[in-house]
């Protein structure tokens, strides 16, 4: 820290007192923030943690006077260096922005103007604050170089689309710090980036701000990340500050029940695979010799059932009473007993997919998105495919769903080559393998109400009549713990997690064997994510499901997966059991990924 600042060291740089922010909406005023308070000392890093809608961004935006036009500070004070700027004039706020308070916005993809060169956009900031000087070009290059852009002078002449996500975020950090502000507001600065890039950017931001003595207000949804980067945590919930204090102390000794909940379900801090209460109970029962013989009779009938029999009967409802019985089967970590244990349900051999990239003048170049990938998934277990964006993991999922034909290699489902399936056989295959997608906002048809959404697979496969289908939909909703009244609602009325549960119910409607989850929880808030993961885990134990779990988040992998395949640039770089990968990563890339999990090395 800057030793010269010792004089002002005990005066808070930013102090927010009893802040209230109100939004005027068509449904009347909404109090987005109430009684918020926080203090940032010079040079200090403070993190606001909370789920979406908790008011964390709104609070920070108020501090820089960037509330949306329908929002206003309806109470309290925002003291910057002792001056109340809560209701300061536009002119005064503009004076402060840039050289006193800087900002790094969330989405690096949309926050740079695509028609201007990077250098111009940096210069703009310098000019606005009268810091451009005579040789502004050199200054721009300097600022960009500080943010960690190699060859900054030439980079400044490039356009945003020539930059990767991480590079853009560096450029935004350069802009935010260009005028040497005393406070930098970083609104989820790395949420859109891969974990390894996230780590580098945050490391760099850390270094820069501590060199410059800049205070940072970091806004994040990730408790692990916040605890690792900030001295002080402020936990917000429903527009209020529920707990604040020293970061590590909050992490180790959370007081407020909400914080406790948050700490308990933070995936980056979890250390073992989820196990449901049921499984534990069942295990105890099995040990006591109370396991029902019915179980073993029922089991093959369910798991090995051809997709034509029980399902084409008037309804698949009769399967339901059997479920509690199956639920009693102990199945921790895929070590399922009975005939099916260890049997491979999905096998991928030497899978390769080449995309043709269109080049200039009709020339095209080949791009190997997936390159010689092999793995096999035993029935009833979870296989996770991990990798950063562009590693080809989603392409593998698409091929496993038979939505995309492989260029080479084969996918065997229950011993049958998927790629050769046609007509009726493909239709039956569709029943047994179901997807759950990443974006809960995109995977449900907004025109269909929930009943029609869940009923659709039953209708397509002509299962049951309208009455039995309705019954089945009710059961499915119950299975994913949604109230039956949800049936008449539309996707736009539900939250992301609720939509994801509906997507799970739809996937379960046909009693599939395999569910392919393509980043199924990455768009959700931490608590909701934990809830959905728990649900998936319980369903796996109840129904003997097999999951192929595509994700970029190793922290999630640890909670749900039995085996991991790590992919990089289309190739498999490491494949082993989850415990093995976490305790003994063999490849540099895997180590890098593990190391980048925020909060992983915090001693909690």
């Amino acid at each position: 820290m800057n030793p010269g600042a010792a004089r002002t060291d005990d005066v808070p740089l930013l102090e927010i007192r009893d802040l209230a922010i109100t939004f005027e909406t068509s449904n009347g005023p909404i109090n987005a923030v109430r009684n918020a308070h926080l203090t940032i000392m010079p040079g200090e890093t403070v993190a606001i943690v909370g789920e979406s809608g908790s008011g964390k961004s709104t609070t920070a935006l108020a501090a820089i006077g960037l509330l949306p036009s329908n929002g206003r500070v309806s109470g309290g004070q925002i003291l910057f260096d002792g001056e109340d700027i809560a209701n300061a004039s536009e002119k005064r706020i503009i004076e402060l922005r840039g050289n006193s308070i800087g900002m790094v916005p969330q989405d690096p993809m949309s926050n740079l103007n695509p028609v201007w060169k990077i250098g111009f956009q940096v210069r703009e900031t310098l000019k606005a604050n009268g810091l451009a000087g005579a040789n502004s070009k050199e200054r721009v290059a300097e600022v960009l170089a500080e943010a960690g852009l190699p060859d900054a002078a030439n980079r400044a002449k490039q356009y945003p689309h020539e930059f990767s996500g991480g590079m853009r975020q560096r450029a935004l950090i350069a802009i935010g710090l260009a005028c040497r502000p005393r406070l930098l507001i970083a609104d989820e600065p790395t949420s859109a980036l891969d974990v390894t890039v996230q780590r580098q950017i945050l490391d760099h931001l850390d270094r820069m701000t501590s060199e410059l003595g800049t205070a940072v207000l970091l806004i994040t949804h990730d408790l692990g990340l916040a605890a690792e980067r900030a001295e002080k945590l402020v936990v917000m919930y429903k527009g209020q500050v529920v707990e604040s204090g020293p970061a590590l102390e909050i992490l180790r000794n959370p007081q407020h029940p909400y914080t406790q909940r948050l700490v308990n379900s933070a995936p980056s801090l979890a250390s073992r695979r989820l196990q449901s209460q049921k499984a534990k109970d069942a295990l105890a029962a099995a040990v006591a010799g109370l396991d029902t013989p019915l179980d073993d009779e029922n089991d093959p009938a369910h798991v090995g059932k051809a997709p034509t029999d029980a399902g084409l009967a008037p309804s698949s409802v009769p399967a339901a009473p059997a479920q509690p019985v199956r639920a009693a089967r102990p199945a921790p970590n895929g070590e399922r007993k009975g005939a099916q244990a260890g049997e491979t349900i999905l096998e991928v051999k030497n899978l390769t997919r080449v995309f043709k990239l269109r080049g200039a003048l009709g020339k095209s170049t080949d791009f190997k998105a997936v390159d010689d990938v092999s793995f096999s998934v035993p029935r009833g277990t979870t296989m996770a495919i991990v990798g950063e964006s562009g590693s080809g993991k989603s392409t593998v999922a698409q091929m496993a769903l038979s939505l995309l034909a492989p260029t080479e290699g084969s996918i065997l489902f229950d011993g049958v080559e998927v790629n050769s399936l046609k007509g009726k056989a493909l239709f039956d295959f569709r029943r047994r393998v179901q997807p759950i997608f990443q974006d809960p906002y995109g995977s449900l048809d907004p025109m269909f109400n929930i009943f029609r959404t869940i009923e659709e697979p039953l209708k397509i496969h002509k299962i049951g009549d309208s009455k039995s289908r309705e019954k089945k939909v009710r059961e499915l909703l119950d299975q994913v713990s949604m109230p039956a009244s949800t049936m008449h609602r539309f996707p736009n009325e539900l939250s992301g997690g609720q939509r994801q549960r509906i997507a799970i119910a739809r996937a379960l409607a046909l009693n599939p064997d395999v569910i392919i989850c393509d980043e199924a929880v990455s768009a959700l808030d931490v608590l909701v994510q934990a809830q959905v993961l728990n649900l998936l885990n319980e369903l796996q134990e109840d129904l003997g499901l097999t999951y192929l779990f595509i994700t970029h988040d190793l922290a999630v992998v640890r909670q749900i997966a039995d085996h991991v395949t790590v992919m990089q640039k289309g190739r498999v770089v490491e494949a082993a059991s989850t415990d093995e990968v976490f305790s003994n990563p063999r490849q540099v890339y895997t180590q890098e990924l593990l190391n980048a999990i925020p909060g992983a090395t915090l001693l909690v």
Binding site: S164, V241, V242, I460
Partner: protein, 337 residues
């Protein structure tokens, strides 16, 4: 994308596991805990069961209901529709019983807008002319929706050569000016000899479909790769059924908006063609024909021209206003998430 330009991570170097311990401050930081009563802990992600279920259309309707633009245009359109269906309720005078005695007479009791050169009642002709104008507008819009919608949906959904052929075809028609094309077309013997509402409608559809086709194609392309379409394919729905069941319903909003605005412009186009003498035959009463007939007299008896022209403007304006209101209500960006 530009991978070689942007080396994010050097993966050749071995990683030294850094232990990030978090930061501790030398300052004393107070540990604050809010009293639990202030923010009671709600269940995670519970469903709000109090609000009434709301479909997108219901949502749009709730939104529309409160818009003055929509209310005014809807009332006007309802009025125009009623007039078109039951004109005799609004005008007691027969518009075809014209006596030359009344030629170019001014307004008098029972004849509020005066008389034409032929001695016909202007008000009555305006009322009875509504049907033809509206009929052309509605039929043309329907025709354009069927032709343009189908072409656009197929082109956008299947892509490839179908798209290339259909999109170029649409471009060719798009390049032809409507009025010029219609003048040529209406002069063809088959059309010239059988002039009726239908010939006008066919001509307008032929030159009007590319606009809807473009809009539909764009909307379908936007939706064809949506996750819910992929999901339904993974459920076993055929490609064509996915188009009909999921893609088209989700593409309707912009199409409806454009269709309601074009309905107005088609009415104008009909009036223009009739004015030029190549639209509806003289035997059909229409605003365009009346405006054409009144044109020589515009200086000494402007009312004869102004009244049908005003009716035309109000009708067209109300359809355009309706389109605008619908655009606001159906705008996907305005929808709550």
């Amino acid at each position: 994308m530009s991978e070689k330009l942007t080396p994010e991570t050097d993966l050749t170097k071995p990683v030294t596991p850094v232990s990030r311990q978090g930061k501790t401050s030398s300052r004393v930081i107070e540990h604050f805990v809010a009293p639990l009563e202030e923010t009671p802990l709600a269940a995670i992600d519970n469903v709000d069961e109090t609000a009434a279920p709301l479909s997108l259309w219901a949502d749009a309707w709730r939104n529309l209901r409160r818009q003055p633009l929509f209310i005014i245009s809807a009332l006007l359109i309802v009025l125009v529709l009623v007039v078109a269906f039951v004109p005799h309720l609004f005008a007691s005078v027969d518009p075809t019983s014209c006596t030359l005695n009344d030629s170019s007479e001014g307004a008098r009791a029972g004849h509020p807008f005066g008389f034409t050169l032929q001695g016909c009642d202007v008000y009555s002709r305006m009322i009875y002319g509504t049907r033809a104008s509206l009929l052309v507008g509605v039929l043309t819009t329907l025709g354009v929706l069927v032709v343009g919608g189908t072409m656009g949906a197929l082109a956008g959904y299947y892509g490839g050569w179908i798209d290339t052929v259909l999109a170029r075809l649409a471009d060719i028609f798009f390049a032809l000016p409507l009025i010029l094309g219609a003048i040529v077309m209406m002069q063809l013997p088959a059309f010239r000899d059988n002039r009726s509402v239908w010939t006008v409608v066919i001509t307008l559809v032929i030159f009007g479909w590319p606009q809807i086709a473009r809009i539909t194609r764009g909307a379908v392309i936007e939706n064809r790769n949506a996750d819910f379409v992929t999901a339904s394919k993974a459920l076993g729905l055929s490609r064509f059924n996915a188009l009909v069941r999921h893609v088209i319903p989700n593409s309707l909003a912009p199409i409806i908006v454009v269709a309601s605005i074009s309905l107005g412009t088609f009415i104008v186009a009909e009036a223009t063609l009739s004015f030029l003498g190549i639209g509806l035959p003289d035997t059909v009463m229409s605003w365009g024909n009346d405006i054409a007939a009144a044109q020589p007299q515009v200086r000494n008896n402007p009312g004869v021209l102004l009244w049908p022209a005003a009716a035309l403007s109000v009708t067209v304006l109300s359809f355009i206003m309706l389109g605008d209101a619908l655009r606001d209500a159906l705008d996907p960006k305005a929808r709550k998430r």
